[in-house]
Symmetry: C2
Subunit: 205 residues, 2 copies
């Protein structure tokens, strides 16, 4: 029989990967013990034996990949150049990089949606992964700014929320009459972000 050699670690890896497949293809609604095991072609009892249950498996899945943009995804390849920009350009390019990072990542979008829909031990498995990177970056940006100005962090949060919602709504364009399936619409969004950051952060007053 050409069956796979018995390899616990390999099987665990298959299961972890199966979570991602189900999540990306069918959404978090379908992520369950049965569906994941079926996707992996493995008996579901191994989920309990190896991970103590679906929660443990999802947690391991959460650690296994990089769903959220890291510092380098946000600031780009040259951190020095990034930090040398005026603050409004730092924010807008950071936001645009964020948008570009998530908008074509079904897994990231699925997780964002999941965390938006319920709070249980499964979504809590993702919580820690969302590093405070973004807010840290905002603090850094804030420090290079006069104290009495518009709060860069608040503006970033607001526009980040907009980006996330637009990226999510793009998944079911027939529900939200939006045109973001067209990449050109995203360049309009990016331009709008640039205009906002520029006008809000560096114009007079």
């Amino acid at each position: 029989m050409g069956t796979r050699p018995r390899d616990k670690e390999a099987t665990k890896a298959i299961l972890v990967e199966a979570v991602g497949k189900v999540l990306a293809r069918d959404g978090f609604l379908r992520v369950g013990v049965n569906s994941v095991a079926r996707e992996a072609g493995v008996d579901k009892v191994l989920i309990y034996r190896y991970f103590g249950g679906l929660t443990g498996l999802v947690r391991e899945f959460s650690d296994s990949r990089k769903f959220w943009p890291g510092m380098e995804d946000i600031v780009g390849p040259d951190p020095q150049a990034f930090l040398a920009q005026p603050i409004h350009e730092m924010l807008s390019t950071g936001l645009i990089n964020y948008a570009r990072f998530i908008r074509n990542k079904p897994l990231s979008l699925a997780i964002i949606a999941w965390m938006l829909m319920e709070s249980n031990e499964l979504t809590r498995a993702f919580q820690d992964t969302r590093s405070g990177m973004f807010s840290g970056l905002m603090d850094k940006a804030r420090s290079s700014q006069g104290p009495s100005e518009i709060d860069v962090g608040s503006l970033g949060n607001l526009l980040g929320a907009a980006v996330a919602f637009l990226a999510l709504s793009m998944r079911f364009p027939e529900n939200y009459h939006n045109e973001l399936v067209d990449p050109k619409a995203w360049t309009d969004v990016e331009n709008m972000i640039r205009v906002i950051c520029s006008k809000v952060l560096c114009d007079g007053s």
Copy 2:
């Protein structure tokens, strides 16, 4: 037996209301034939007999109430005064009214979330209800604007998306480390919206 007199319309109304109760309390994940019938204290077969299935019931529910803000919710009690404002104030007050309308309406938030999560015959039942009111308002605003300026509609869409995401994320604050449970945080958001609309739409160039 003090049982209710047999009244088809009353029973239908009870079922329609039960959809809203389940949706607001447990979210769309729990909206099903069994749970709704149980909530209504009525046999589920009546859902099939009276509405042809859950889809018909949800559609009737969708028509039964006002989940989305109407024109008067957005423009306020005095349309004349609203339209007399400069365009950036029209947009910001409209967005703020939108935010105030939805942010404490669990049903509206649940439906927005639902439409963000799946596209099926049930979510399609809500689709038509979302009147093109907002975009119509944007057109009106656009007409009172010079042709070469920033597009008010795009800005409104972006900030509307931000508002929607923030309102949704508020439902599970432990997932998104946000502070919007505190109403004061919303006044900050409103102020930020005002600043953005003002700086983007009326500052020079």
